[in-house]
Symmetry: C2
Subunit: 409 residues, 2 copies
């Protein structure tokens, strides 16, 4: 598409709009962007802390409630931030229009709290841009076919931004955040973590799936599918960050490391069920029901013992209430269900693993060397993950980061 030549979708996270002062600063930056010829489409998250505040209110009433009212509630956070940012832009003589999902034509399915974007009507946004108006779009939200407000799950504003860029045919999308780049590991956990100049969309998706909070997985997926380069950069520094590139754009990289990053998720929980009925039917029904509720089951292990069949699966902490509800409704009383909350998942990711065998052996020997027991394991072509005790997370992450040569010089 031709429309998008000077149009740039710019997404700002919660810290970028976290206070009136920051909103004013952001408006100043956008004024400069416009002065140098950019025609921005802005996507904003809720002011930092606001989404948690709203979730806290809902949880005081009913921690297990999920449904349309929850989505309507939390979507109000972005409504506030885009309104305030639009007022700040107007104060600077810019024409700006805040747009909620129903106004921007962001249509999703009806999976409350975890909806997926189905279509975006780009004509509204392009129409505004052509009139010289800056669209300021609420991230994180959509409307379903019955006009109910839906939300895209944590980090969903990134997805909104990249989906908008794809919808208007833009070749890149800027994601402004409070970190300057994607790192080879979380620097808070691994002090020697290094910034990455580029990372392939495929690796980034694995990293997001494995617990990296930097980018929402759906956003990277959409970027890869629609060939949108994602430029993740800091709101507070005026330098380049990390480019998340579709596969085609990675071909220029001659040398690829075996492992590109060490990722972790400290919010893993494991459900154990014993005894469960044998045969595939029980498992199929259980995981169908969990999926229908939008629970992402991560690692599953199953084993036969003399006393009966054991099942264990991991979910993120966020999904515990929904999982519990499904288990309560579905599992018969004679099956004992236990929940272990203080688990973490540690992973290594790298497209280079495809051409280098023996990564798994190195991975497990590092863990063994540090006496880290492994509870659940899963691997794919480009990653190895293990669920371990939270207490061992730091030691494991730093040891793996060193082992695979990722430590900052």
């Amino acid at each position: 598409m031709r429309h998008a030549e000077h149009i740039l979708v710019k997404k700002y996270g919660g810290t970028s709009v976290g206070s009136i002062e920051r909103i004013e600063n952001l408006a100043d930056r956008l004024l400069k962007d416009v002065a140098r010829g950019q025609r921005p489409i802005v996507v904003a998250s809720a002011m930092s802390g606001e989404t948690n505040r709203l979730i806290g209110l809902a949880e005081q009433i009913d921690p297990d409630y999920r449904g349309g009212a929850y989505d309507m509630l939390v979507a109000s956070g972005e409504q506030v931030s885009i309104s305030l940012l639009s007022i700040a832009l107007a104060k600077r003589g810019l024409r700006a229009q805040p747009l909620l999902a129903y106004q921007a034509g962001i249509r999703t399915d009806s999976t409350f709290a975890k909806a997926r974007i189905q279509s975006i009507d780009s004509s509204v946004l392009l129409g505004l841009v052509q009139k010289g108006i800056i669209p300021v779009v609420a991230g994180f939200q959509g409307v379903d076919p019955e006009d109910n407000i839906t939300t895209l799950g944590r980090g969903g504003s990134d997805t909104t931004a990249v989906a908008l860029a794809a919808a208007i045919g833009a070749r890149e999308c800027e994601i402004y955040t409070d970190v300057p780049a994607v790192f080879t590991a979380d620097p808070r956990l691994v002090p020697r973590a290094a910034e990455m100049k580029t990372v392939s969309a495929e690796e980034m998706m694995e990293m997001a799936a494995l617990g990296s909070k930097v980018l929402h997985i759906r956003c990277v997926e959409i970027g890869a599918k629609y060939n949108v380069k994602i430029h993740l950069r800091s709101t507070f520094e005026d330098r380049e960050g990390t480019w998340i590139l579709p596969e085609a754009d990675m071909n220029t990289q001659l040398e690829q490391p075996v492992v590109s990053a060490v990722t972790h998720d400290a919010n893993t929980a494991v459900f154990k069920l014993f005894p469960v009925p044998g045969g595939p039917q029980f498992l199929a029904s259980l995981f169908e029901r969990l999926a229908a509720k939008g629970v992402v089951v991560d690692i599953i292990t199953q084993s036969e013992t003399n006393e009966g069949q054991r099942l264990a699966f991991s979910v993120t902490k966020e999904d515990i209430p929904l999982s519990r509800q499904v288990l309560k409704d579905f599992v018969e009383a004679k099956t004992e269900v236990s929940l272990i909350e203080n688990m973490a998942k540690i992973s290594v990711v790298g497209v280079g693993m495809r051409n280098h065998p023996g990564v798994a052996a190195r991975f497990f020997s590092v863990l063994a060397r540090h006496s880290v027991p492994v509870h659940l394991v899963t691997t794919s072509e480009i990653k190895i993950s293990a669920v371990i005790d939270q207490a061992n997370l730091s030691a494991a992450a730093n040891a793996l980061h060193t082992e695979f040569g990722l430590d900052r010089a």
Copy 2:
């Protein structure tokens, strides 16, 4: 219409949903209402304090901004309260659906911050009620023909409720608030103020126009026009409050007091302009421009002096920014504009005044007896108002209340 026989529109103000505990209490009450056969349509305001918090955020950026972003911002308050109330109802096994203006089909004009309802599509609400679902509607908001969010001005949730009642053909509408009734004066100002069992819509409209905060004027107007009785009552006590009745329903009242109530507005401001161009054209243009911005000009006085023509008019404090903006754009530099902020308006209201001459004389002699200077005056068939200094408000209100025999026994 037949639909509405068991359907009752119930509006709850900010204090009724002011905390999670109060939302839970309200849900308990609604559960009881449903148990005794009511089919409620709920309208809710924002949690108390929330609208002010949001306005405060906007004003930190630009105290004079008015436009679509402002309305979108403040409308988020009701979005939060109706979502939370719906979650609390769901927890009690009731089916509830929160509805924003665009979902409930509440259409308004495009006067941001003071929009007027133009139509309501009652089919959505009645459809839900017929399915046994409690609609929980966001008060205070609408959508204009371009799908922008609009707001109805302070107290607009009352208007939403009565307009909904009218749209579904209901004969009455309950407004739950933090006061138990309409009083003959504000009890905080006049300790001997008494509760009113009934009040005519006409008087109530005057009282609202004159500063009574109990009910929004548009709400009473709509009640009168569509023959909806408004029952104002306390959220916290289970007894009847005040019925605001259309004229027809007042015929049963044999004896009417001369003055029904003393009303005040402590937030009056007076703009004085001197000298202004002579002739009607200047005044016509000025007040047209103020009206176009949605400023309600209250009392206007104009006088010729040797030095030129003087103009004074009063507005509510809320309208100062807009008024100032219009004056800045319209009035030429040689005209001096001054603003006096600490004024109050004191009024007596009563349909009985129609048949009893001499009320004005008694009104002014009371003020004179208490040495209260009068700055601006206006009268109608059923009220007399004077703008006085805020410092004299309490003395004047109490003296008038006693003079017209309104003191509680």
